[in-house]
């Protein structure tokens, strides 16, 4: 069974005059590395947020992680990792990096349950994997944009999701960090957890088969498999600017 199975979905924002996602269908299987490309405002972010129910699908059917999204949005979000493109938080609220990574576990823990040893282990492992041990006790508000992005990636790795979605996760990261994280993502995909990544820069993309999606104006205009080296040129030709 597909991890993500969207059939003819439409998504509209309140107050918007037309749907942002139009009659879109998509299947993602275990172990796939999905790259989502497309021009600005094509609806890439909205697609990701439709998949985990942060924006409501108005028509169509969506099965995510074996659950009907419309009636189990909270449950789906517990199983889907999502690294948000733009996040803001009060820099003077002193949460440490460790605490923020730990928050990734809270959804699956459920109300009234306290973190146990395996939750602490998962958080610690994620911090080590992303290579931010030195930041663990720092206040997140004091970090740079790139460091904060790494923390949010660790937060979602600690969650041990069934599928990991990332929305332009590299926008603040240097070339070294990008290659380093791409290796981590490759290992995640190899372990079977699919990745869905919106991106504009493709250096360091792992040398595995890529499931490439190109979006234009709320529709998928290309859904194909290709080699990592071909991704950039295909997106260039497929995008309607």
């Amino acid at each position: 069974m597909s991890i993500i199975d969207l059939k003819g979905i439409y998504t509209a924002y309140e107050g918007g005059d037309k749907p942002v996602i139009n009659d879109l269908s998509l299947r993602v299987e275990r172990g796939e590395y999905v790259v989502v490309g497309g021009p600005n405002s094509a609806g890439k972010t909205t697609l990701l947020e439709s998949i985990n129910g942060l924006v409501r699908i108005t028509h169509g059917s969506a099965i995510v992680c074996g659950l009907d999204l419309q009636s189990n949005a909270d449950e789906v979000r517990r199983k889907v990792g999502y690294v948000i493109q733009n996040f803001y938080f009060d820099p003077f609220t002193p949460f440490t990096v460790e605490q923020v990574v730990m928050m990734g576990r809270f959804g699956r823990l459920g109300l009234l349950n306290r973190p146990k040893n395996d939750d602490y282990d998962a958080a610690e492992k994620a911090i080590r994997l992303v290579g931010i041990e030195d930041l663990a006790h720092k206040t997140i508000g004091t970090l740079s944009g790139g460091q904060q992005q790494k923390v949010m990636i660790a937060h979602n790795i600690a969650k041990e999701p069934e599928v990991l979605m990332l929305d332009e996760p590299f926008s603040n990261l240097d070339f070294h960090a990008r290659e380093y994280l791409q290796c981590i993502f490759r290992d995640i995909v190899r372990s079977g957890t699919p990745i869905l990544m919106v991106a504009h820069a493709f250096d360091g993309l792992p040398e595995i088969r890529i499931h490439l999606i190109v979006m234009n104006r709320g529709r998928i205009s290309l859904d194909a498999f290709c080699e990592a080296s071909e991704v950039e040129s295909i997106i260039r030709t497929e995008c309607v600017w």
Binding site: G15, F87, F89, T93, H155
Partner: protein, 276 residues
């Protein structure tokens, strides 16, 4: 609670009431200020104020009217504040203005009619003539607030961090958020005739801001804010009765003074010399 220690019943009730009100409000204040819900706290306190004025006008129980009215506003605010921030701000502004208008209208009208028992106490609060039941109710809401924070600390902390990240993490944001709104409504409504509509905001905002100056962790804010509120209210009640000064404004001024002091002394604002 303090009867065995304090022989004067009035002082004793005032002390208990101020302590319960200030502890409940200051704990909620930490959440409110960190979730940028200040305008919600503001709107809610004025809604309670309007509700109390309605209760007084209709000659029914003032607390119950205040509670019902602020709960009603909480139920309105919830769905609105889920949506776009702009829309929420506008709605809050409208609700706030409406509450003020209702309250002032009724208070002026009651003064004209010579009706209602001291409508001014809605504005300024009244720690002198409290009933036992009011103090029990305040104690209950204080315990409820503490229990809420202890039980949902995990969820509250993510909400304080970032609402969208909380949602994406799969936390039941709506449930926790609505419970929070209702507890704020309850605390604010019940604190109203203790501290008054005008000064309740001091209890919601100032202890949390003081804690923000000193605390290096979110958990400690939840301890420092109510502790500061408790000590300052205690001192305020004592000084108020000793020097025959109005208790509530005195507590408000003392808290403001402590805030000023904490800004000056705060370690957080200093740049560590060793780093340079």
């Amino acid at each position: 609670m303090f009867e065995p220690l304090i022989s004067n019943n009035v002082v004793c009730h005032a002390l208990e009431a101020m302590i319960f009100a200030s502890v409940a409000c200051s704990i909620l204040g930490v959440i409110i200020s960190r979730m940028s819900l200040s305008s919600i706290g503001f709107t809610m306190s004025h809604a309670a104020f309007a509700g109390a004025a309605i209760g007084m006008f209709l000659e029914t129980n003032v607390q119950i009217a205040a509670t019902l009215f602020s709960m009603g506003v909480a139920a309105l605010i919830g769905p609105v504040s889920d949506k776009a921030k702009m829309a929420a701000d506008a709605t809050l502004g409208v609700l706030f203005a409406m509450s003020m208008a209702v309250a002032i209208f009724l208070i002026s009208y009651m003064e004209y009619l010579g009706k209602g028992s001291s409508p001014g106490s809605l504005l300024y609060g009244d720690v002198i003539s409290l009933y036992r039941e009011e103090i029990y109710a305040m104690a209950a809401i204080c315990l409820l607030t503490i229990a809420f924070v202890l039980a949902f600390y995990k969820e509250i902390s993510v909400l304080m961090f970032n609402m969208k990240i909380a949602q994406a993490a799969g936390i039941r944001v709506k449930l926790v958020y609505y419970v929070l709104l209702f507890i704020i409504a309850l605390s604010v409504a019940l604190s109203l005739n203790i501290v008054g509509g005008l000064l309740i905001f001091v209890l919601l905002v100032t202890p949390a801001s003081i804690a923000g100056q000193f605390c290096f962790s979110v958990k400690s804010m939840f301890i420092v804010a109510p502790l500061v509120a408790l000590i300052v209210s205690g001192a305020g009640v004592w000084a108020g009765f000793w020097f025959t000064l109005p208790v509530v404004p005195l507590v408000a001024l003392l808290l403001t003074g402590v805030f000023a002091l904490s800004v000056m002394l705060s370690q957080k604002r200093r740049i560590n010399k060793k780093m340079l």
